[in-house]
C-alpha cells in the first residue's frame, strides 16, 4: 500500500475519484454502445470481433470503477457506481455516448476514441499511483489491438468504394466536433498532472493529431478543421442520449432496489 500513501500525500481523494470515474465511465459507455451491435453486425466475423472489444471495455470498467469506489471509501462497488448514479454524476466524454449510427460511424467513433485511449493509457503507465499504472498496463494491451483494428477498418472503408468513402467521411464530419473534449482541461486535471497521476489532457493532442492525420490520409479522408468543439461530459454536462442509455442499463437495479442478481 506504499503507492496509496504516496498518492494520498500528493493529491486529494476527490480529484483522484473524479479521474477514475472519467476513465471508467468512458469504457462503460462505449462498451454499452458497442455491445448494442451484438447480433446485428454486417458480418459474423465483425460481430465476434466487436464483442471482444465490448468485453475488454466492460472489463476495464470494472477495474476503473472498482478502484474509484475504493478511493472514495464510502463502500460503493463498481456496480453501484455504474448502476446507481444519475446522468449528472457521469464523467464520460460525449463522444462515447453518441448513438451508433451506421456501422461506419460506429467504427469511426471507435477509431477516434481508440487513438486517444491508447495515448492516454501510455501516459498512465508511469503514473505515480501504482494502482492506476497497473490497470493501464493491462488495458493498454487490449486497447492497442482495438486501435490496430479500428484504424485498419477506417483505412479500408475510406479507401474502398465511393459509398464506403462517403459514409466514412460523413461519420468523421459528424463526430469531429466531439473530439475536442478529449483535450480540454477540467477541474482536477492540473492537480492530477502536478501530482504525477496523469498528464494534462492537452498534452496528448499533438500525438493524437498526428496519428489521426496519418490514418485519415491513408484512408483518403479529409480531416475536418477544428471548429467549435462540444464539451461538458467530463464535468457531468451530457447529451440527452445518456439518459436513455442509463434508463436501459440501470433498469433492473432501479426497478428492484437492493435485489442481488
Amino acid at each position: 500500500m506504499e503507492a496509496e500513501t504516496t498518492t494520498e500525500a500528493a493529491i486529494d481523494r476527490a480529484a483522484l475519484f473524479e479521474f477514475l470515474l472519467r476513465m471508467g465511465d468512458n469504457t462503460l459507455m462505449l462498451g454499452h454502445r458497442v455491445s448494442e451491435w451484438c447480433g446485428h453486425a454486417p458480418a459474423l466475423e465483425e460481430d465476434i470481433a466487436l464483442a471482444n472489444t465490448a468485453l475488454d471495455l466492460i472489463g476495464q470498467t470494472q477495474l476503473w470503477l472498482g478502484l474509484a469506489g475504493e478511493v472514495e471509501d464510502k463502500g460503493r462497488s463498481a456496480d453501484d457506481l455504474a448502476y446507481l448514479r444519475d446522468v449528472y454524476e457521469f464523467r464520460n466524454l460525449l463522444l462515447t455516448e453518441r448513438p451508433n449510427g451506421d456501422f461506419g460511424k460506429t467504427l469511426m467513433r471507435q477509431f477516434l476514441f481508440d487513438a486517444w485511449h491508447y495515448l492516454r493509457l501510455q501516459t498512465l503507465l508511469s503514473s505515480t499511483d501504482r494502482r492506476i499504472a497497473e490497470i493501464a498496463e493491462k488495458a493498454s494491451k487490449e486497447v492497442s489491438y482495438h486501435l490496430e483494428r479500428s484504424r485498419d477498418l477506417v483505412i479500408r472503408l475510406g479507401d474502398g468504394t465511393a459509398e464506403s468513402h462517403a459514409r466514412m467521411q460523413q461519420a468523421l464530419d459528424d463526430l469531429w466536433p466531439y473530439t475536442g473534449e478529449m483535450f480540454m482541461t477540467e477541474a482536477a486535471d492540473t492537480a492530477l498532472s502536478a501530482a504525477g497521476v496523469a498528464p494534462e489532457p492537452q498534452s496528448l493532442k499533438a500525438e493524437w493529431d498526428e496519428l489521426v492525420a496519418e490514418t485519415l490520409s491513408e484512408a483518403t479522408l479529409r480531416k475536418p478543421t477544428d471548429g467549435y468543439m462540444h464539451g461538458g461530459g467530463r464535468r457531468g454536462m451530457h447529451s440527452e442520449h445518456l439518459g436513455f442509455v442509463l434508463a436501459e442499463m440501470q433498469f433492473l437495479q432501479r426497478a428492484y432496489p437492493g435485489a442481488t442478481w
Binding site: 458480418a43 459474423l44 466475423e45 465476434i48 470481433a49 471482444n52 489491438y145 490496430e148 485498419d152 479500408r156
Partner: protein, 94 residues
Amino acid sequence: MSSEWPLWEVFIRGQHGLNHRHVGSLHAADAEMAIHNARDVYTRRNEGVSIWVVRSADITASSPSEKGPLFEPSNSKVYRHPTFFDIPDEVGHM
C-alpha cells in the same frame, strides 16, 4: 448479391512450441483481415500465439483413400478445404 469474401483456413500455434494446427475457417476480404478475424474468432485473444491463414482455394489436397469417382460439388473452390480439427487440451483455450 455482391461477391462474398473469400474463405480462409486458419492455423494456430499455441504457446508450447507445438506445430501450427488447423483450427477452422472464416471469411475475410484479404489476408491481413483474415489474420485479424482469426485472432478474434479462434484465439479469443490469447497472447503469444502465432497465426497462419491461407486461402482455402489455394490448398491442394491429396485424393481420398477410397477408390471410385470423386464427389465433385458444384463449387469447386470450397469443398477441398480441410475443416475443424480438435485442439488438445494442453494447447489451452483458443
